[in-house]
């Protein structure tokens, strides 16, 4: 899933540009959107709201023309997780100026991670090109779905996964986040080499690896490995080998951003 958000001051045409972007993007894949709203979607105290209020985790209101799914979420990341779970190719977010998401900014609005500045005359094609240039946000769920689409999966008796996450507490130090930098072209090549080497091992059906870069907050995912194998014995060997080789061979570096300061992890170890 590729994510792009459209931000701008009030009444600068955010929704108009989102409409243009979505109608162009849908030619390239499925699109989901997230809209920041100050207005309540459903009246509090109505019958539908009473369902949620009585303790339901999710309530779906169904009308003769459409449905609305309500759950207790108030942030953009939770909304994006929902879209990722839906399996859409593109997520378009309107608003959430304070988020770290890549942004198309209308006019002179200030925000972090602005990847393009446009005015109201921007065409759907121009906006879609910006969205398509964004990095693919891969989830473990995407990789599991992909490995199951492999026709060879019929030879597999097990799927194993490894997820590396940002450790928050260690040695009396509290980590806020890790910042990952990558030598992209070479990292891609070496990850592909690890995947193909491991796939050549006896009994291994498929190996998928994805390593994220940029700032990753404490508790969030860093790296995913998915291995499908004929038998569990072969699977665990390949899974371990995959993470060990990533740590040894792939040109990616991490900087610890702790409560007490910042440092490169390789500097501490050497």
């Amino acid at each position: 899933m590729k994510v792009i958000s459209v931000v701008g001051y009030k009444k600068t045409g955010k929704t108009t540009l989102v409409e243009r972007l979505v109608s162009e993007l849908k030619k390239h894949g499925t699109v989901g959107t997230v809209k920041h709203s100050r207005d309540e979607i459903l009246p509090y105290g109505g019958d539908t709201d009473r369902h949620l209020d009585s303790g339901a985790a999710v309530t779906i209101g169904v009308t003769p023309t459409r449905s609305i799914k309500i759950f207790r979420n108030t942030d953009v990341n939770g909304a994006l997780r929902e879209l990722a779970f839906e399996g859409v190719d593109f997520a378009v977010v309107e608003g959430f100026k304070e988020s770290g998401l890549p942004k198309i900014a209308i006019g002179d609005v200030e925000a972090q991670n602005i990847v393009a500045r446009v005015d109201i005359s921007a065409t759907g094609g121009q906006l879609a090109a910006i969205a398509m240039a964004q990095p693919e946000q891969v989830t473990l769920f995407d990789l599991l779905a992909k490995v199951r689409r492999n026709p060879e999966i019929r030879k597999a008796g097990a799927i194993g996964t490894f997820t590396g996450i940002v450790r928050e507490i260690a040695k009396g130090e509290t980590t806020k986040a890790l910042e990952f930098e990558s030598f992209e072209a070479v990292a891609k090549e070496r990850i592909a080499k690890i995947e193909s080497d491991l796939k050549a091992m006896e009994g291994i059906v498929d190996v998928l690896i994805h390593h994220k870069t940029g700032r990753i907050e404490a508790g969030d995912d860093i790296v995913y490995i998915v291995v499908a194998a004929g038998h569990r014995q072969e699977l665990f060997v390949a899974l371990r080998e995959a993470i060990e080789r990533i740590k040894e061979e792939v040109p990616i570096w991490k900087k610890e951003l702790t409560v007490s300061g910042e440092y490169w992890v390789h500097d501490e170890e050497h």
Binding site: G164, A187, I246, I252, W253, K255, W264, H266, D267
Partner: protein, 95 residues
């Protein structure tokens, strides 16, 4: 006289020391990888203690010439040509 432009790609604390990711350096003193690195360090002396010890490149410095790993003696013997790309980086720490 040899004169060529070499594109350096720097990562992690090496990038921070140069305050730049990609640096084009004119190399004229010699044509080995080691000569090119010396030309880079002449421009960014702050990087020298990170990379050099006793006139030699520190063991932990990774060198890639046009994407291919270069090791040990090759650094002093392998030649570069105009337009080559040398990547320099510290030990990796992904995962």
């Amino acid at each position: 006289m040899i004169f060529m432009m070499i594109r350096f790609r720097l990562f992690a604390n090496f990038r921070e020391a140069a305050k730049q990711k990609d640096v084009d350096v004119a190399v004229s003193g010699g044509n080995t990888i080691s000569d090119a690195i010396k030309a880079l360090l002449a421009r960014y002396p702050a990087m020298e203690p990170m990379m050099f010890q006793d006139g030699r490149l520190k063991q932990y410095v990774n060198v890639l010439l046009n994407g291919q790993t270069v090791k040990g003696e090759q650094i002093a013997s392998m030649t570069v040509k105009d337009g080559d790309e040398i990547a320099l980086f510290p030990p990796v720490s992904g995962g």
